[in-house]
């Protein structure tokens, strides 16, 4: 074609530009897109297929992989370790989510004050977030030392010798609560910062209006702060709940899901079944259930959000 750009009709040049944009758009997108398809979408869809097979991690040439229908799922109904794992995830979420969320809001309110050196406190409260979970788990294992450990020493001192010593991580009743404490210690700084951003977004005139109406600090908190933080709270609750269902590292490093499955979680079960035992098919079935739970939690966020947010 010998037409110069100046000579083409505007509509024609627009169409040409549209075609060129389509080409460029897809080529700029393709590296990320190919990686997402290969390493996220493909394995994600595979989980739904593998869940209906007896696929092994190391295939045996003489025994080919077969479709086994719903066998993996019916097995889930009688797998007591799986039930215990799910229950532990629910208990963990039921305790950690409300405690960590309110603790985060309290911390955010405290460091939202105009006080000298307040940023120092923000830094200190946030520092566990940048500490690797494996390290956190190991430090706390030492702190929870049975007998003469530091946590036992504190509890015995505070109770004048009436309580303890406990064998924290070896006691099936105490192991999961013990892990909850360090999980909150490590994670609360993250939510604190999100709440802090939310608090700073609340327009000042709302508080001024409340003051004129004679509202005290407590009333201001319940009638201005909390309603204004509604969407932030929903976000924090949803992400913390999802994290509770992903629970793996600290439970595995400290007690490998024990004692007596007291700290077993869904993802530990996936890891043991899929990786240690090589039962990819069965582990995929657990994965599918796990994903459906996470999906339900994520979708609930959209239901509860008050204002529509354009993407």
């Amino acid at each position: 074609m010998n037409v110069t750009p100046a000579a083409t009709s505007p509509r024609r040049s627009q169409r040409l530009r549209g075609q060129r944009d389509t080409l460029i758009g897809w080529s700029l997108s393709s590296p990320a897109l190919i990686l997402l398809i290969l390493f996220l979408l493909l394995p994600f869809l595979m989980a739904f297929v593998l869940a209906f097979t007896d696929q092994r991690l190391v295939p045996n040439a003489t025994i080919p992989t077969r479709f086994v229908g719903l066998r993996n799922f019916t097995r889930l109904f009688v797998d007591e370790t799986f039930h215990r794992a799910l229950l532990n995830n629910f208990i963990f979420a039921a305790v950690v989510v409300p405690v960590q969320t309110s603790f985060a809001l309290l911390l955010a309110s405290l460091i939202n004050q105009k006080l000298r050196a307040i940023n120092l406190f923000r830094t200190i409260y946030f520092s566990p977030v940048v500490t690797t979970m494996v390290v956190v788990a190991i430090i706390w294992t030492f702190l929870y030392n049975p007998g003469r450990g530091f946590i036992n020493a504190i509890i015995q001192t505070l109770s004048f010798g009436h309580l303890g010593p406990y064998s924290w991580l070896r006691d099936p009743k105490l192991a999961l609560p013990a892990i909850m404490v360090l999980s909150i210690w490590q994670g609360v700084g993250f939510q604190m910062v999100i709440y802090l951003a939310g608090l700073q977004d609340i327009p000042n005139y709302l508080y001024e209006a409340a003051q004129i109406d004679g509202a005290n600090k407590l009333q201001q908190f319940f009638y201005v702060t909390l309603p204004q933080l509604r969407n932030t709270t929903i976000f924090v609750v949803v992400t913390t709940t999802i994290l509770a269902f992903k629970l793996f590292t600290q439970n595995w490093v400290m007690v490998q899901g024990g004692p007596q499955n007291a700290t077993m979680t869904t993802i530990i079960h996936v890891y043991v079944q899929g990786f240690k035992q090589g039962r990819i098919g069965y582990a995929s079935a657990i994965t599918v259930v796990f994903f459906l739970i996470v999906l339900a939690i994520s979708l609930s966020q959209r239901v509860f959000l008050t204002e529509e947010r354009s993407v």
Binding site: P59, I139, W252, Y271, F275, I280, F290
Partner: protein
């Protein structure tokens, strides 16, 4: 603001006879605030101080003796770097550190490039399939890594073999490539890019600049905050990665720090001084980076909350 100061002025004028009392009450409140803030600071600091102090006590018996009292937090007795020497003599710590830094740096650097490119295309080029692609990326954000870990293990083990290559088990790239593209990073870039003014780009387009050039010379310099945010969030996520390297590394060759730490911890008898020295060497560099760039860290985390 004016209403606020008016109201405050009224309060002050009314309580002026008691202004001393008023100020005393206010001072007391501030003291009370600092007591609470300080107590909470102790709660967040004591495990880290405990780790560090234990790591510099040369005598293992003393660490055990001190652990149930306030002495756990006081550097006393024989203080030194013996535990650190012990770690280096028993394990190639430097090699593990290199592995972790190399893996995370690769994910972050290649990741911000790949993710920002697709986000730029989605935010600025009006191409066929664009809106579908945006919906797909947003939908993909819901899938947690844990939901794909097991099938992904099959993909990286069997996939390369089907194509005539070696398995990816026990390599660096198996710990890097699956994490480069990240739907949430793309989303953060996309949100930032659509908020940028278009005038500069349109002028550059009229001047005949290519899209890549516009991306590199106009978009990237204008978008430093979002690049920092994504880099920091990806760093925080992957520095502590544990489940995946636990599954795909067998030997010490390509193993990252968290898995090495867990294995060091798993050996018996447990020498807490050595273990705490290992832990301190993982933690202190990151804490240092955090202290240097803490404003950026806090802003990055805050920006994750604005997702809808």
């Amino acid at each position: 603001m004016t209403v606020h100061s008016l109201a405050e002025g009224k309060v002050q004028r009314r309580s002026s006879p008691y202004s001393l009392q008023y100020r005393a009450r206010k001072g007391l409140r501030i003291v009370w605030d600092y007591i609470i803030l300080g107590a909470l600071a102790l709660f967040f600091l004591f495990p880290l101080v405990f780790m560090f102090i234990s790591s510099i006590k040369n005598n293992e018996d003393q660490i055990i003796r001190d652990m149930s009292s306030i002495y756990a937090f006081i550097p006393q007795g024989s203080i030194g770097t013996q535990n650190y020497y012990d770690v280096f003599s028993q394990m190639p710590f430097g090699h593990f550190m290199f592995n972790s830094v190399f893996i995370v740096a690769s994910i972050v650097v290649v990741g911000i490039l790949v993710n920002s490119l697709i986000a730029y295309a989605l935010a600025r080029l009006n191409f066929t399939g664009r809106s579908l692609l945006v919906s797909v990326i947003i939908a993909l954000m819901i899938i947690p890594f844990e939901a794909v870990a097991v099938p992904l293990l099959l993909v990286i083990n069997q996939g390369p073999r089907l194509l005539g290559f070696q398995t990816w088990i026990d390599t660096y790239h198996v710990q890097i490539i699956p994490f480069i593209a990240d739907a949430f990073s793309i989303f953060l870039f996309y949100q930032f890019f659509i908020g940028l003014p278009k005038d500069l780009e349109e002028a550059a387009l009229v001047d005949g600049a290519s899209r890549l050039r516009i991306y590199w010379n106009i978009i990237v310099p204008l978008s430093r905050p979002v690049f920092a945010t994504v880099a920091i969030l990806q760093f925080l996520t992957h520095w502590g990665d544990f489940l995946w390297p636990l599954m795909v590394t067998r030997g010490a060759e390509v193993r990252p720090l968290p898995v090495a730490m867990q294995q060091f911890f798993g050996r018996d008898p447990k020498l807490w001084g050595d273990i705490m020295a290992f832990a301190a060497m993982i933690t202190l560099p990151v804490l240092m980076v955090f202290l240097l760039f803490q404003k950026w860290f806090v802003q990055s985390v805050a920006s994750t909350g604005i997702k809808g």
